[in-house]
Symmetry: C2
Subunit: 291 residues, 2 copies
Amino acid sequence: MFDRLCIIGVGLIGGSIARAVRLNGLSQTIVGFGRPEDLHNLQTAKQLGVIDEYYLDLAEAVKNVDCVVIATPVASIKAIFTLLQPLWSAQTIYTDVGSTKGSVLVAAEQVFGEIPPNLVPAHPIAGAEQSGVEASLDDLFVGKRLIITPTNNTSPQALQAIKTLWEKLGSLVSVMDAKHHDGVLAATSHLPHLLAFALVDMLGRKDEQNEIFKYAAGGFRDFTRIASSDPTMWLDICLANRDELIPLIEELKTELGVIQNILQNQNGQQLFQTFTYAKNARQRFLDQFEN
Amino acid sequence: MFDRLCIIGVGLIGGSIARAVRLNGLSQTIVGFGRPEDLHNLQTAKQLGVIDEYYLDLAEAVKNVDCVVIATPVASIKAIFTLLQPLWSAQTIYTDVGSTKGSVLVAAEQVFGEIPPNLVPAHPIAGAEQSGVEASLDDLFVGKRLIITPTNNTSPQALQAIKTLWEKLGSLVSVMDAKHHDGVLAATSHLPHLLAFALVDMLGRKDEQNEIFKYAAGGFRDFTRIASSDPTMWLDICLANRDELIPLIEELKTELGVIQNILQNQNGQQLFQTFTYAKNARQRFLDQFEN
């Protein structure tokens, strides 16, 4: 599919893309790029056979490549675009894997003046609690959802190429606009993580914190697991998607206020309806997941 | 340890107690009691060898027993006390497994005038998403926390007997007052479950619900699992412990308001601190769990 593919940021996601590209024979050569402080990680990636070559100089890294995959945290994407801008080639397809897509489009507009037609923003809904190239997997994206968020300016050929790439990596590809993506992900991923961080922070700071951890039952244990995700990554994501998140937090506060009133008034019937609806939602989720 | 032990309510918890009592040779005979509508369940429990005998008549069920374990939902405990009151024997030790303990003491006071010295309230912190005697396990309580909440009126002999019973079933036994138990459990179990129900209910009702389930990533999937717990049981628990839960919900709304402001002001440093504290709390939890 490609002669030469460059991955900017060879961590869990970038490394797993490289592994899957190799496994599926989609590029002859896979090149990694990182900052000087990423040297050790790039050396590891090469030793593991995840990449063939690496460069700390971006001009060398992207020379003659057919495809550039930006796999760095969302907060760094504007800086990457700025570095790429003088090297930008109409013969190359560019894509990213950022968890928020509106922020990527804003950054591209700021750097390039308009969204380049050969930039195809994408987001694989896959991840793990771990990070780093050592945690990368051949099959991280197999059977997982991947969302592509093109703009009106996106070249149909570039879009098709990125769609094909991800399908060959085993993903279930959907296409939607960036605003819609950010709204859906705020609800399904960003708000739950924020809530887990908030609850664990609140309870952990209480006086009886040792007891709370000692007697932690199912519920809280699951919350602490969600809250053990990488703080830097989630900080970036929550700030980048704050316009979607803030109204959802407001809605949740309202929902919690309703439940407070229900408890105060001991309105068992209404609480039962809420709980039952939520329980049934789980079954709908499982049905969806199996399809 | 006992000649004859009676379990009122032979479900997941009651059945698992019966299994563990038998496995550890703690009672010669294990008797089950249930309502007429529980007949099929009691027959199953006997066929599975979980209990030796069963009765739909409480007077017969508790005749000559050394110990009565009430393993029905918290909302039914007052009704069970009312049935037991005319049959109450000073030679028998009574205990329960309710998830909230203040409500059990209030019910006992209402029915008996004061807390009987031979009633020892207890709460095994163990459970599962499933329910019913078919889901009961020999080792459900092994290595799990169990909290006993005696009163000033509790007989030291009865307390010691229940402590020994649970230690022999493999539990890590703690003793504290009921108010303290209810506060700790509200934080570690009841609030997280309520929050999961609230979030899944709120998101599930949104227009894009099918998309939300389709693209559900790690965070939301975990919430739906927590929210798939038995609605009736959680309704009972949340209503019984509402005095502890309502102020915790208020605190959480405040915490969410603070996070909203942080996002609005893009105060990355403060959000990072919150997330980092929560991530570290997970490690404290794991350390605690391993000790």
